[in-house]
């Protein structure tokens, strides 16, 4: 395998990781502040992708489609939070799992009802299609590069918001002591709705960005959701930094595993067997990574609390 291909795959892994971060950041914020495990986060990812595909089909504008994904997912998040999620904060995790599982069923079938079972396509705009030349003669997809840059910018914005703004202070305070910030006069239920909407918007945005690379279809969110869980387990719950490092680790492990493992096994096996074994092992690589982290740091790389 040539160096150029390796760098390309590394960039692909980075792009995958950055997208996983957008999902995992929302999940980990929602868990950190409200103590809620939200299985329906993948549905919000799907809502974003469908909203973007719908708006792009009508207006033809990619930027409008992205804006629509943010608005639709945030709006869906607010509605779901006010109708259902709000009643779950004081319940145990089992109730949260079941209620959000029920929400997945409702979201998925509802989307199938409205849009039909056929996948939709979201085209990358002209100004983002094609390839760019990077230093050292590496040719790389312009759109994927844009995703990496946008993702990193969103991550930086999120870090800044949490560390420097008033709303960020409230979020951190909410993670530390829910009762106390309520007692200090912060409207806690509005804060919860806001955090949930923020997480939903990030998920929807990720859905729209990925929707242009893959197809937009019902059930697209749950595999990503489970990967985001792996990210959180590796990074540690409630930690944005952990989510970022975990997401990049998972993205790189998965992408590089898929391209490198068959080649590595090819050194010691016959080619067809190497492809099979390599591909099977690559599909398990991130879970093995997760198991390894669990063995040495059950609380995750950056997790402080043990529950």
């Amino acid at each position: 395998m040539s160096t150029i291909l390796l760098i390309e795959q590394t960039l692909n892994g980075l792009q995958f990781g950055v997208m996983l971060f957008l999902m995992a950041a929302g999940l980990t914020l929602i868990f950190g502040v409200m103590g809620l495990i939200n299985l329906a986060h993948g549905s919000l990812y799907m809502v974003g992708a469908f909203a973007a595909a719908g708006v792009a089909a009508v207006t033809g504008s990619f930027l409008l489609a992205l804006a629509a994904s943010l608005i639709a997912a945030a709006l869906a998040g607010v509605i779901v939070e006010m109708l259902v999620i709000r009643r779950l904060y004081d319940r145990d995790h089992l109730d949260q799992v079941l209620a959000t599982f029920a929400l997945i069923l409702i979201f998925s079938e509802g989307t199938r009802w409205v849009f039909g079972s056929f996948p939709l396509f979201l085209d990358t705009p002209d100004w983002l299609s094609g390839t760019v030349m990077l230093p050292f003669g590496i040719e790389y997809s312009r759109y994927r590069l844009a995703i990496i840059l946008v993702g990193l910018a969103v991550a930086a914005g999120l870090f800044w918001m949490i560390a420097r703004t008033r709303i960020g202070i409230r979020i951190r305070a909410g993670e530390n002591d829910r009762e106390m910030i309520g007692a200090l006069g912060v409207n806690i239920s509005r804060l919860y709705t806001l955090v949930f909407a923020l997480g939903a918007a990030l998920a929807g945005f990720a859905g729209a960005l990925i929707g242009a690379i893959q197809t937009v279809q019902v059930g697209m969110g749950e595999p990503v959701l489970i990967l985001a869980f792996v990210v959180i387990v590796i990074g540690g719950i409630g930690s944005i930094k952990g989510a970022f490092i975990g997401a990049i680790l998972v993205g790189l492990t998965d992408t590089l595993g898929r391209s490198l493992l068959p080649v590595l096994f090819g050194l010691v096996m016959e080619p067809s067997a190497a492809t099979t074994v390599g591909a099977s092992l690559a599909s398990m690589a991130i879970y093995i990574l997760m198991a390894g982290v669990l063995l040495f740091r059950p609380q995750g790389l950056f997790g402080a609390r043990t529950t």
């Binding site: 995790h93 089992l94 079941l98 959180i232």
Partner: protein
């Protein structure tokens, strides 16, 4: 307690009467539906050992369901192609004998539960939920990418496996077999729940610190419960595969994990017979709502949401609770 016993008896009689009536009126499809309900009930009873007795919210029980299914699929596949399972150091052939398949399904899923439980139980709460879900997904992707046993397409078994003295292709005889196993599993779980181990497990669920103060090691209790739970669900997986004569990676999917959990919740968490009521209700809903609309999962979602938000305790909580109020 007596009300619950009555309810249990009524439930089990109903579950027996419906397929018998269907057998008399010659409606094999209804018998198949009842068999599905019984097999799902076994899976639910298995999950309930971890969830209800131990308080372990496992969202990865599809893993054991799938391992049991593939144990059956692989053994029967080798038997129907006459290719030995392994050649060296000893030759082991596939088999079409149900008792052997059940044993293999139970042992392999218990081993899987031991390994995954040992890792997952290092954490608690929401981590445990996410990790069990992730490990099931790992098996899902592994079976998809491993082409030897059908990959994404799964494995078809042409003839249902045999049981000495029975014609398993006859729907009512296969139902009777599954029903017998359900009774056996219910009896075992009922005994476990009342054994010193079961009582300690309940104590550890309610207060880990107190169980520890009594000299118990909660980790060991939880792990034992998880292994028993996985083994029972594995048996259900083998039966389910035999019912359909087909195994595929879908058995490992997160939806399967969610559905097994739904059986437990619809019926009532922590009640030995709860998952039986839940699985039966699920089949009734699937059949009646599925007839109404192809988007029946919306209604299932709404019902589930209603149960979680407003009717905790499920069907058993509703019925047993209401009856107790009359006393």
């Amino acid at each position: 307690m007596r009300r619950e016993t009555l309810l249990n008896a009524a439930l089990m009689l109903l579950l027996l009467a419906v397929p018998l009536w269907a057998h008399v009126t010659d409606e094999p499809f209804t018998i198949t539906l009842a068999t599905r309900a019984v097999i799902f009930a076994i899976a639910g009873v298995g999950l309930n050992v971890a969830l209800g007795l131990g308080g372990l919210v496992s969202l990865g029980h599809a893993l054991f369901f799938g391992v049991g299914g593939y144990a059956m699929g692989i053994l029967a596949f080798h038997a129907q192609t006459y290719a030995p399972l392994i050649d060296w150091p000893v030759t082991i052939d596939g088999t079409k004998s149900m008792p052997i398949i059940w044993l293999v399904a139970i042992v392999t899923s218990a081993i899987a539960a031991l390994g995954i439980g040992a890792l997952s139980l290092r954490t608690t709460g929401v981590y445990f939920i996410m990790i069990t879900l992730a490990f099931a997904q790992m098996f899902y992707f592994f079976t998809i990418s491993w082409p030897a046993y059908g990959g994404e397409d799964g494995l078809s078994i042409y003839v249902r496996n045999g049981f000495p003295g029975l014609n398993t292709m006859d729907p009512i005889q296969f139902f009777a077999l599954c029903y017998g196993l359900l009774l056996l599993v219910l009896f075992i779980v009922w005994r476990i729940a009342r054994s010193p181990f079961g009582l300690m497990l309940g104590a550890a669920r309610q207060s880990q610190a107190r169980a520890q103060a009594l000299g118990q090691v909660p980790y060991r209790l939880y792990l034992t419960a998880f292994v028993v739970s996985g083994a029972i669900t594995g048996l259900a997986g083998a039966l389910f595969a035999d019912l359909n004569r087909f195994v595929s990676p879908t058995m490992f999917s997160w939806q399967t994990s969610g559905e097994i959990m739904v059986f437990v919740i619809l019926g009532g968490v922590g009640r030995v017979f709860g998952p039986v009521a839940g699985a039966a209700l699920f089949i009734v809903l699937e059949h009646s709502l599925g007839g109404l609309s192809e988007f029946w999962h919306i209604y299932l979602g709404a019902i589930l949401l209603g149960v979680v938000l407003f009717a905790r305790g499920g069907l058993y909580g509703l019925l047993a609770g209401r009856e107790r109020a009359h006393d």
